[in-house]
């Protein structure tokens, strides 16, 4: 057993990481699907979308041949509507709420239709938004992820000049660095970001990290307002013996490497254990398998009923041949010559419901051991508590606190996205960016 890169051929890598939700190949496909939509009033799909996209309208616009209008309907509510059409867990949002579900019919394929319109907008570079006359105001946004981009775009439309400070080399945040490559390709992420920035008035400065080469005081002084969209990023540690062994990696770093290197350069073990059952855990497990790992075992302390990922995601891992151990929690990682050799787990049973409303995992005292050579930790992410604490920002365990106007306790400093909510969907971050922009506009008296 060993950890190796380059396990597959170039052809296999391309096949394994190609788009799992291919778009409509012809307009007719979109037209037929769009025509199924009954265009509900006060539509449940719209109400289930964190950005409140007017789904019946954009679908109707596809049927009337007004694809440009359709794209504008989507992007007005959600400037990352193209990316969201690929990464949103639609089965628990818009498509999950589609009234067709109540007739035991297939819901409208909203995501695919949204992709149809928005990709046309991006590939044709449709100019859907104008900037208002320059207001002379300047706003600094920290973080070029979904929340930051959404806020910057909304502000730019209102005639504000925005500077985004981004610690990485590319924009897009988790969309670019933290999502499975078969959901959004690096090329797509770049195209989407370029399209968002094409409105103008947004200057992105890369390799600028808060607390390292920029400071909040500096931004506060030089800009009329600041929006903090720094996200979350630190993988929660397991706090068990052996976590320092060679072969233990966190899912965020693993996926980051995958998104920034050739697939052939990413190493995986023969037998990989993934700890956790969230979306990131699934992304790590499926991609390990797609990189050529022989066995991938996902370990979760509750049962399938309590899984945090969606059924669609779980099915994806099942179809990729991952195996699952439910009701188990890692106890110790055993090494040999400094390398991962075995994983010892506690057997768990479910107790009374906890604060989350789900039944709490309780240790039975029994253990079991599996042979593994790699352990990927995907037990959640924690906020950048240190950065937050170097300022006098009010926070809760590193999660920045905001009021109803999306303002922090510091005058002129606003925040939103994962840095505030602790880590939710891309679509939630986009909405947070929009709301942040709204708060800033009011603050600036615009």
């Amino acid at each position: 057993m060993s950890i190796q890169s380059n396990r597959l051929t170039e052809k296999d890598f391309i096949a394994n990481f190609s788009d799992i939700h291919p778009p409509y190949e012809q307009d007719e496909g979109a037209l037929i699907e769009a025509s199924r939509c009954i265009n509900c009033y006060d539509a449940p799909c719209t109400k289930s979308c964190p950005t409140s996209i007017d789904v019946p309208l954009f679908i109707k616009q596809i049927t009337t041949g007004n694809v440009k209008g359709s794209a504008k309907t989507i992007l007005t509510s959600n400037i990352m509507g193209a990316g969201c059409s690929k990464v949103c867990p639609v089965e628990k949002l818009c498509e999950g709420a589609c009234v067709f579900n109540l007739m035991e019919e297939e819901p409208i394929n909203i995501a695919k239709l949204q992709r149809y319109s928005t990709e046309k907008a991006i590939s044709n570079n449709w100019k859907l938004f104008d900037r208002k006359k320059n207001t002379g105001k300047k706003v600094a946004v920290v973080g070029a992820g979904p929340a930051g981009l959404s806020c910057a775009h909304a502000l730019s439309r209102e005639g504000i000049d925005v500077t985004i400070f981004e610690k990485e080399e590319k924009s897009g945040g988790l969309m670019t660095y933290g999502v499975a490559a078969y959901k959004v390709t690096p090329e797509f992420c770049k195209d989407e970001v370029d399209y968002i920035l094409s409105i103008g008035g947004i200057d992105v400065q890369y390799k600028k990290e808060l607390g390292k080469n920029i400071s909040l005081e500096e931004l506060d002084k030089n800009y009329d307002a600041v929006f903090l969209a720094i996200g979350v990023g630190i993988a929660r540690s397991l706090n068990i013996p052996g976590e320092e062994l060679d072969g233990v990696i966190d899912a965020i770093s693993f996926i980051y490497d995958l998104r920034t290197n050739d697939y052939s350069k990413i190493s995986v073990g023969d037998h990989v254990a993934v700890i956790g059952m969230g979306m990131t855990a699934i992304d790590a497990a499926t991609q390990s398998k797609r990189l050529g790992a022989k066995e991938v075992t996902m370990i979760y302390r509750r049962t399938e009923n309590e899984k945090p990922c969606t059924q669609v995601e779980l099915d994806l891992a099942k179809l990729d041949g991952c195996t699952f151990i439910w009701l188990a929690s890692p106890k110790e990682i055993i090494g040999e010559n400094g390398k991962v050799k075995k994983l010892v787990c506690n057997k768990i049973m479910l107790g009374e419901p906890d604060a989350s409303g789900r039944r709490a995992p309780v240790d039975t005292g029994e253990t079991f051991t599996i042979d593994v050579d790699m352990v990927i930790k995907a037990a959640g992410q924690i906020p950048f508590e240190k950065i937050v604490n170097t300022s006098s920002l009010q926070n809760k365990a590193g999660k920045i606190m905001i009021d109803k106007n999306n303002a922090t306790n510091l005058k002129g400093v606003f925040a939103g996205g994962d840095a505030v909510n602790g880590g939710k969907e891309v679509v939630d971050a986009v909405q947070a960016g929009k709301m942040g922009a709204k708060g800033i506009l009011e603050y600036l008296g615009l």
């Binding site: 037209l31 037929i32 769009a34 025509s35 199924r36 009954i38 265009n39 509900c40 009033y41 006060d42 539509a43 449940p44 799909c45 109400k47 289930s48 049927t63 709420a97 009234v99 067709f100 109540l102 007739m103």
Partner: protein
């Protein structure tokens, strides 16, 4: 098994479905294939002085993802040599003696031409003739087709010419491009016609290409009014048919119903409103001759379900059910009822009622599903909610009479009963 056999003016066919005079009936190869598929009869595409057709010829109306809810054409009568048509008719008759063969005619507008045309058509052994007084394009400009049908005097005269020499049944096909089909029908009857058929196509513009700005169909950058047909014209055809069925002087003359018939249900409706048989064209053009299988099968099953043994058992049964507005019962009142077990919370009923007029549906906000209920006291029983509801039988209209007695508008007014105060 019900008996679908039809006898129209003494002309027998194994079922009441004829193919109307149109491109599918303009040559032997087509008609043989139609008969093989099971069609009861054909009306051979109109013969007359040979013409030349243009390209393109057809256009359609699509709606909300459904193609061809309406269709139009700018074809003229047969563009094949007359003698060739006549020879082929004779051959087809020999091969399928049990099927109806009607020949559609449109002669030049003089007595001699009509006499000659009738004789030539009869020489083929055909069972009947249909006079094309309905074609709305091309032939009109030459004083034929709808130009004849639109003028009762001329129509009567031409029918008289035909009847002077015809020895087989004559059907006069009426144009819908008039405010009422009744005068034309009466004129044809006075002229001696044995039967009627309607409707021919309706003058139309189906749409415009928004890139070239040329209406459809495009013939070298220009267009003309085309004859409209297909499912969209059925309601108009049914209305015109009913006006004939209700007329005392016309009702005993057999009528062949035409206009957007695509399914057995459409056919049953035409026959219920007085058509003795039906003619189909667009549906066969769009989907092929095989549609005859379900036309017959569906009609047969419906007849079995209803206990009708022969088609004559139900022809005309719905005619007395269409009356004058002032004869309707004002005391009849229905209100909508939403079945919460079937409701999918789409809100279509709510917004239709709200924006149309009555505001008779209450909304209770929910996330993500709202709940909708009928405000019975506001409901006028218009059917709109039931029409827009996507779920079968989710909304039903329940009878809640305003009074026991039958009360029509004339009586209502006479008694000075109150009108709405809001």
């Amino acid at each position: 098994m019900a008996n679908l056999e039809s006898v129209f003016l003494g002309i027998k066919s194994p079922n009441p479905f004829w193919l109307a005079s149109a491109p599918p009936t303009d040559k032997k190869i087509n008609v043989l294939r139609a008969y093989e598929a099971g069609w009861g009869g054909v009306v051979w595409k109109t013969l007359g002085t040979q013409v030349k057709n243009v390209s393109s010829r057809y256009s359609s109306l699509n709606y909300n993802g459904t193609k061809t809810i309406g269709f139009n054409n700018i074809e003229l009568i047969s563009d094949r040599p007359l003698e060739l048509n006549l020879r082929e008719i004779k051959e087809v008759l020999r091969l399928f003696p049990d099927r109806a063969m009607i020949v559609s005619l449109m002669a030049d507008n003089d007595r001699k031409s009509w006499h000659e045309m009738v004789k030539k058509a009869e020489d083929t052994g055909a069972h009947g003739l249909e006079l094309n007084f309905g074609c709305p394009h091309g032939m009109v400009e030459r004083g034929m087709g709808a130009a004849v049908g639109q003028d009762p005097e001329i129509a009567k005269m031409v029918v008289e010419w035909v009847m002077e020499v015809a020895t087989i049944p004559v059907i006069t096909k009426l144009t819908p491009n008039v405010h009422s089909a009744v005068p034309g029908a009466l004129a044809a009857i006075e002229g001696g016609t044995n039967g009627l058929s309607l409707i021919n196509t309706i003058q139309s513009v189906t749409g415009i290409d928004l890139d070239t700005l040329v209406p459809n169909p495009n013939v070298g950058g220009k267009s003309v009014f085309g004859g409209y047909c297909g499912p969209a014209v059925k309601p108009i055809a049914l209305k015109m048919l009913t006006t004939l069925s209700q007329d005392e002087k016309i009702r005993n003359v057999p009528i062949s119903g035409i206009g957007g018939i695509s399914t057995w249900k459409d056919a049953a409706e035409f026959m219920l409103l007085g058509a003795s048989n039906v003619q189909v064209c667009t549906a066969a053009m769009i989907s092929g001759f095989k549609i005859i299988t379900d036309l017959c099968d569906g009609l047969n099953n419906w007849m079995d379900d209803k206990g009708y043994k022969n088609i004559n058992d139900f022809i005309g049964l719905s005619v007395p059910k269409i009356i004058k507005w002032e004869e309707l019962d004002i005391n009849f009142h229905i209100v909508a009822k939403i079945d919460p077990a079937k409701c999918i919370n789409c809100g279509l009923c709510y917004i239709a009622c709200e924006d149309t007029s009555h505001q008779a549906i209450a909304i209770k906000q929910g996330h993500p599903y709202n709940t909708y209920t009928i405000k019975e006291e506001e409901c006028v029983g218009c059917n709109l909610c039931k029409i827009v509801c996507p779920v079968n039988d989710c909304i039903t209209m329940e009878e809640q009479r305003k009074g026991d007695e039958y009360l029509n508008w004339i009586e209502y007014e006479k008694r000075g009963l109150p009108l709405n105060d809001h």
